[in-house]
């Protein structure tokens, strides 16, 4: 096999991993659309808000510090250093009573390094839960049985509100999010695969963060599928997606289901925001990843979780391979920006329900 072939494989793998990231964003849309028929315009902003909250909590930013400073003329910024060294030492000493020193040290080291991140993730998830409850109480509850377009407009309003609220709370500066996963090419993977090609081939260049993101996304999707297929609440979610009225009639409370769905969508947004934020910084443009999810949804169908995943993979691989095979050599490159939308357009013309859109069951 020539180096060119293996280079193509590398592009393919990178496409798959980019696709997983797209799927992650698209998933949030599908969940809410299925359960409430709402196209949630705020999904991208939710990811941004979740990422901002995560950074804020992780680095100990004081919420609304800009506002407080502006009003009272104070100079607040941070609560203090995250995870000081004495904390790690105390922790390892405590653990060493129970465990051999080498193990306790490494656990404490792990917690010292990842502890703030893990705590921040847990708290950010709680914030998303709280947010879901607020959305239900303040917005959705009052719009039961309105036209889809009205609900859609409500989510546009929600998006603008969250955008402003997030910046008011955490500041509008570009933040870096370090979740303890290194970026850049994975050296181990590169060395292990360098034997495949000839002398010109140095092994696959895969971003470590992308690899982790792939595993996390796959785990998240598996968890979601298991949840919706095998739990009572999951079954209720699918029931609501099928028929609101009938779900009401058997005693399923729509309001509870909406809170659950928005919470899950919030968690998905948190994971997406975390991965994209770690990759390219937490800033306003993060909310635009929602735009990348649109072609994925058109491809995969708005109502299918597997569709969102496979749609994401097809878009990811498609745009990378197109750029590699046709775009760069013949079209002058930079095709990645529009390829997904062209593909989505073709799908809209020839298969509007998407690849896996729920078939409308019609008995004859």
């Amino acid at each position: 096999m020539s180096a060119d072939f293996w280079f193509g494989v590398e592009v393919f793998l990178n496409g798959l991993m980019a696709g997983v990231m797209y799927s992650l964003v698209a998933l949030g849309f599908v969940l809410i659309f299925k359960a409430s028929g709402i196209f949630n315009y705020a999904q991208g902003v939710m990811a941004l808000f979740a990422a901002q909250t995560l950074v804020g909590l992780q680095t100990g930013l004081i919420p609304f510090s800009h506002l407080i400073n502006a009003i009272f003329g104070t100079e607040f910024h941070h609560f203090g250093q995250a995870a000081p060294d004495w904390w790690i030492e105390t922790y390892s000493r405590g653990l060493s009573v129970l465990l051999p020193e080498s193990i306790s040290l490494s656990i404490a080291g792990f917690l010292g390094f990842y502890g703030p991140t893990i705590l921040a993730i847990i708290f950010a998830a709680l914030v998303m839960l709280f947010f879901a409850i607020l959305v239900e109480k303040l917005v959705l509850k009052h719009l039961v049985n309105q036209e889809p377009i009205i609900l859609f407009m409500a989510t546009i309003g929600l998006a603008f509100f969250m955008e402003g609220f997030g910046e008011l709370m955490w500041g509008s500066d570009v933040k870096t999010l370090d979740i303890g996963i290194e970026q850049g090419g994975n050296v181990w993977f590169e060395e292990k695969t360098s034997f495949l090609g000839g002398e010109d081939f140095y092994g696959f260049y895969l971003d470590t963060l992308d690899i982790y993101a792939t595993f996390i996304a796959v785990a998240l999707v598996l968890a979601l599928v298991l949840f919706s297929q095998y739990t009572k609440t999951g079954r209720a979610l699918r029931a609501v997606a099928d028929d609101h009225q009938a779900a009401l009639s058997v005693g399923i409370s729509l309001r509870t289901i909406w809170v659950i769905v928005w919470t899950i969508a919030g968690f998905v947004a948190l994971v997406a925001g975390m991965m994209w934020g770690a990759k390219s910084g937490v800033q306003f443009s993060l909310s635009l990843i929602a735009l990348k999810a649109l072609p994925v949804l058109m491809l995969g169908g708005f109502t299918s979780i597997p569709g969102a995943i496979i749609g994401g993979l097809i878009i990811g691989v498609g745009e990378k391979m197109f750029e590699f095979l046709i775009g760069a050599p013949y079209l002058g490159g930079a095709t990645e920006n529009w390829f997904a939308y062209m593909l989505a357009l073709l799908f809209l013309v020839f298969r509007p329900q998407g690849l896996f859109g729920e078939k409308i069951i019609e008995r004859v």
Binding site: N145, A236, A239, A241, H244, A247, L248, S249
Partner: protein, 274 residues
């Protein structure tokens, strides 16, 4: 075994309710009725008479269709239920089987049935026992348990909808138009099962039905609705013999069959409440 006949104890009391949709459309103009424990009560009438609205007013599904009860009261076991959520009512033992089946199309039959047990808190064992009970009443559902409900026949979907309601261990089932779109044989089968459930499981039914003939054969008591009012009520056996019911709803009259045109003009002259 419970006694087949309805008891004197009244479960559901509706007195003089008025329902308005969208703040302007007056659908029920003072409907009163009572559902005794252990009985099958039929609510009869043509299209647009207000049968479905009455049932939805009871189960509180009206809110989601922008309808509201503006006058009168509805009480279950002496307790006002107008402000409860549908879910609370299901917990109290009142569940509605909606017109047109409304199965969850993409769920399997068994999953559909299991959604009926959503509000229950009495453990998996009890739910599994009830699932078995439902399968015994509707053996066809057992055969189709793994099929998506959307791909089953109309009769199976109706059975699924009734079975789903039974999974909530109801005391009273509000059954809306179970005969809709089904072959006469199937209608008989389903009503037979309803009768069985009433006699053996002691479930009380309030049955809205256009098929007057079948409904009056299986029910104990009947109310006839026309344009949002109860125009007549009585034990089913008496209603069956009433000449007006015979003429208007059973298509029989003293003079034998009449042409449709004559019936219409006769009807214009003779109004129910004069």
């Amino acid at each position: 075994m419970l006694d087949a006949a309805p008891t004197d104890e009244s479960l559901l009391e509706i007195s003089n309710i008025e329902v308005i949709y969208n703040h302007v459309i007056l659908v029920l103009k003072g409907v009163s009725l009572s559902v005794p424990k252990g009985g099958i009560t039929a609510l009869l009438g043509g299209n647009g008479a207000g049968k479905t609205t009455t049932l939805k007013a009871i189960s509180n599904l009206l809110h989601s269709e922008r309808g509201e009860v503006t006058k009168g009261s509805i009480s279950y076991r002496g307790e006002k239920i107008a402000d409860l959520m549908p879910a609370d009512l299901v917990k109290k033992g009142v569940i509605q089987v909606m017109e047109g089946r409304h199965c969850f199309e993409h769920l399997t039959i068994e999953e559909n049935l299991m959604t009926g047990s959503y509000t229950r808190r009495d453990g998996r064992g009890a739910v599994a026992a009830d699932l078995e009970m439902v399968y015994n009443y509707f053996p066809r559902l057992r055969e189709r348990r793994k099929s998506q409900a959307g791909y089953t026949s109309g009769g199976e979907q109706q059975m699924c909808a009734i079975g789903r309601a039974l999974m909530s261990r109801p005391e009273t089932v509000l059954l809306d138009e179970p005969s809709m779109g089904l072959a006469p044989q199937l209608v008989e089968e389903i009503f037979g099962i309803v009768k069985d459930l009433n006699e053996k499981e002691g479930v009380s039914f309030l049955l809205a039905e256009q098929n007057t003939n079948v409904a009056l054969r299986f029910a104990h008591y009947g109310y006839i609705l026309e344009s949002g009012r109860v125009v007549m009520d009585g034990p089913a056996a008496e209603l069956r013999e009433n000449p007006d019911v015979k003429e208007f709803y059973l298509g029989m009259s003293e003079e034998g069959r009449k042409s449709y045109r004559n019936v219409r003009s006769y009807r214009r002259r003779k109004r129910w409440l004069g």
